[in-house]
């Protein structure tokens, strides 16, 4: 069965067995597909005949089942999906990380801080220098060290400018105070 046939089968079964939870139908279709692929190597086309057979199988298999049991099975599937999907997502994230370029890991927060607080005359040169060194460290030592370097530089690079501005402000106030004394 190909994917289209599986979806079609699931839709037909969901309509035919409307009293059964839809997740359970999905589970049955998956299970059926696995069982069939264990027995037969080639894909089976969904025909009217085998559709009737499948409906009979589902009817027989679900006949003795209590609806509450089915609901609990359905809940089990939901829980399994809730647990498995985040794990899959983590793996996907790890794959994405492996495929990602160094540029994707450049800490935009650190760059933003530098953009906001550095004086305009040095801004582009400093950010450019840090970005260049970030890529060097990224290649040599990996993502974590490169990001740590960038954040540390972002904070420590501001200090000389803050100190200079504070010093200029202090001198300005001192001059103003002296002028007031003389005046």
């Amino acid at each position: 069965m190909n994917i289209e046939d599986r979806c079609l089968l699931a839709d037909i079964l969901k309509k035919k067995f409307a009293h059964l939870p839809s997740l359970y139908i999905d589970y049955i279709v998956d299970d059926l597909h696995k069982r069939l692929s264990d027995v037969i190597d080639y894909p089976i086309a969904l025909t009217k005949q085998n559709l009737e057979d499948i409906c009979c199988i589902v009817e027989i298999e679900t006949k003795d089942f209590n609806l509450e049991i089915l609901r609990s099975i359905s809940l089990g599937i939901q829980i399994r999906n809730a647990v498995v999907h985040p794990v899959k997502f983590l793996f996907k994230k790890a794959d994405m990380r492996a495929e990602a370029k160094p540029n994707d890991f450049l800490p935009s927060g650190a760059v933003l801080i530098l953009h906001c607080f550095l004086p305009q005359k040095d801004r582009m040169e400093i950010i450019g220098d840090l970005e260049e060194e970030f890529f060097l460290i990224f290649k040599r030592d990996g993502r974590r060290k490169a990001r740590f370097f960038m954040w540390l530089q972002a904070f420590l690079s501001l200090w000389p400018y803050v100190k200079g501005a504070a010093w200029a402000a202090t001198i300005g106030r001192a001059i103003g105070w002296l002028q007031q004394l003389r005046g």
């Binding site: 950010i127 540390l152 530089q153």
Partner: protein, 93 residues
């Protein structure tokens, strides 16, 4: 001294790396730029905009070059250092 040592390849990142390697301390790029600007204001070094590269996100480099007065100042400082050191070593001997 780092600008003098690096010659034509003296810009922010290389100067920072040279100073950090020589002093074996963590040096911030901001401290390097403020110092270089002070030296530029005194006329010891000069700077100009270089080319922009992809690794820098298309931002231009700022190259620094030591001027004649800068070399004179360096020689003078070195002479003072040697005089003091010579005096100290003479006292020890």
């Amino acid at each position: 001294m780092a600008v003098f040592r690096l010659g034509s390849d003296a810009y922010g990142m290389t100067v920072r790396q040279t100073v950090a390697e020589a002093s074996k301390n963590f040096t911030s790029i901001g401290a390097i730029y403020t110092t270089l600007e002070r030296l530029e204001a005194k006329g010891f070094i000069s700077s100009w905009q270089g080319e922009a590269t992809a690794e820098r996100g298309g931002r231009a480099k700022r190259y620094f070059k030591i001027e004649g007065s800068g070399i004179d100042a360096l020689r003078e400082k070195e002479q003072v250092r040697q005089n003091i050191l010579g005096g100290l070593l003479g006292g020890v001997a």
